[in-house]
């Protein structure tokens, strides 16, 4: 899906970063923010800013028009999300005890809905998938990337991406079926 304007594409191709950069931020930052939210990154807004700060010096070297720019942006975002999860794996996330957030207290339905936020149910389902499947599905659905671009971002072959996507969707379907049976 081409979302960048022709003006932006022309600006990128002729290596005029200033207006193209603003245009790229306007068009791509919502998707980057959504991708980082889906990946469970803490403070996704700040990481989105980091992604575009890292993009700026590379703007003049972008090739491939809007698709190339989108691939580069999500490559950076993917790297940031991997960094975040690695960092989180090395050091536990410490938070102060908040009695209101104590999990030993049962939440009301309203509290659960607020805590879930937008896409909470879908994110919950994503957690049941493997890391690779989650990554591929997020890039395909939220970042709106093609199979080829997803393969470029993740460093896998197109066939592997296609296979992971299929398994991810099957896994989601099985999870939904189990949930439906459990509710009955």
């Amino acid at each position: 899906m081409e979302t960048l304007t022709e003006r932006t594409t022309a600006a990128v191709d002729t290596a005029v970063p200033s207006s193209a950069f603003a245009q790229a931020y306007t068009e791509l930052s919502p998707a980057v923010l959504g991708y980082l939210r889906a990946r469970g990154v803490d403070d996704p807004e700040a990481v989105t800013q980091d992604v575009f700060m890292a993009l700026y010096p590379r703007m003049s070297s972008v090739t491939g028009g809007s698709a190339g720019l989108r691939t580069l942006v999500f490559s950076i975002a993917h790297a940031r999300s991997v960094d975040f999860h690695r960092r989180q794996g090395r050091q536990p996330n410490t938070v102060q005890h908040d009695p209101a957030a104590d999990p030993r207290v049962t939440e009301s339905a309203e509290e659960q809905a607020i805590a879930r936020g937008v896409g909470g149910y879908a994110r919950e389902l994503l957690e049941s998938l493997s890391e690779d499947q989650r990554e591929i599905l997020t890039l395909r659905v939220v970042a709106d990337m093609s199979l080829e671009d997803t393969a470029a971002v993740t460093g896998k072959t197109v066939g592997a991406v296609k296979q992971l996507q299929r398994r991810a969707l099957t896994g989601l379907r099985n999870r939904l079926s189990k949930k439906g049976e459990g509710e009955r």
Binding site: M1, E2, T3, L4, T5, S18, S19, F21, A22, Q23, Y25, T26, E27, S29, P30, A31, L33, G34, Y35, R37, A38, E45, A46, T48, Q49, F52, M53, Y56, V118, G119, Y121, A122, R123, L125, L126, L137, T138, R140, V141, V142, D144, L147, Q165, R166, L169, L172, R173, L176, S177
Partner: protein, 303 residues
């Protein structure tokens, strides 16, 4: 391309929903899922796609600078053109988008650029002030450097003079002892002058001994004292004053008055410890003990 304009948010939301549906259908179609599975997955994938923000996050100050946003302007804010009623495509950003932090900081800087009278400083003034500040700092640094260097230069000069004079004196000293004493005195005077330290005055002769005055807590201290009798500054005795308990024998050299020879400090450089109990101050007939040193410094019998 998704555009949002004066037609309202409803049209934009519809457009976005249509985009999302198309994207999800394309994804599902590429995986050969049966109708039932696709129907079950569609709402979940649409919810996942709902994670995409509706508008770009407000940029940080650094990013706003890179975006080259004009002062106080964030694309979501209505501009003059929009205020005039002309529909403006703002690339899918709500008119209610928060202004970036950089714009607020720019406004704060503009306020800070006003002087006390409320008039704005122009750029030249600011540059001039900055350059003056830099010049002042440079001059201060030079002054500090000069102050630190001068004593070192004087000491080096003194050492060179002492060495040259000592070499000359050494040759003549074997023949004439009187010449040796003269030379030693001259060297002391030269060293004192170069290092800007006052050479110790010669020991007072017996008929020039200072008169003990009330109010001074130490013999020879002629500084004005407080009514309680304590000196107003530190009570360190002057080097020329005779120290009680110390043999102030004057080594007489024929033709020259030598300085009184003080004993060596007991612990390598530490000055001799003074007795805690000072000798009793002799009472001067007619003197007022409450008067200061300046008032009571007249010799008795003069008034």
């Amino acid at each position: 391309m998704t555009t949002r304009n004066a037609f309202g948010e409803a049209a934009a939301a519809d457009s976005r929903a249509a985009d999302d549906s198309r994207a999800i259908e394309a994804l599902l179609a590429g995986n050969d899922l049966d109708h039932e599975d696709a129907a079950a997955l569609r709402p979940v994938l649409l919810e996942l796609r709902g994670l995409i923000a509706e508008e770009p996050p407000a940029p940080s100050p650094d990013l706003a600078a890179l975006l080259e946003l004009p002062d106080g302007a964030w694309p979501g804010l209505p501009d003059a053109e929009a205020a005039a009623g002309e529909p403006t495509a703002v690339l899918g950003i709500h008119a209610s988008s928060p202004a970036p932090t950089a714009a607020l900081e720019t406004a704060a800087l503009d306020t800070a650029a006003l002087d006390m009278e409320g008039t704005a400083r122009d750029d030249a003034t600011v540059v001039d002030l900055a350059s003056r500040d830099f010049t002042a700092r440079r001059l201060a640094h030079q002054s500090r450097t000069a102050r630190a260097w001068k004593p070192g230069r004087a000491a080096l000069t003194a050492a060179a003079v002492v060495v040259s004079l000592g070499a000359a004196a050494g040759a003549a000293a074997a023949a004439d002892g009187d010449f040796l004493n003269k030379t030693a005195d001259n060297i002391a005077v030269i060293v004192g002058t170069l290092t800007n330290t006052r050479p110790a005055p010669p020991a007072p002769k017996p008929h020039e001994q200072p008169i003990q005055q009330p109010g001074n807590t130490y013999p020879g201290d002629s500084r004005p004292s407080t009514p309680s009798g304590h000196p107003t500054e530190s009570s360190t005795p002057s080097p020329s004053a005779p120290v009680p308990g110390v043999d102030s024998t004057v080594t007489k050299v024929p033709g020259h008055d030598r300085l009184p020879k003080l004993p060596d400090p007991p612990h390598g450089g530490v000055p001799p410890v003074l007795p805690t109990e000072l000798p009793a101050v002799p009472t001067i007939p007619g003197g007022d003990p409450l008067k200061g040193a300046g008032e009571g410094s007249q010799a008795p019998g003069k008034g």
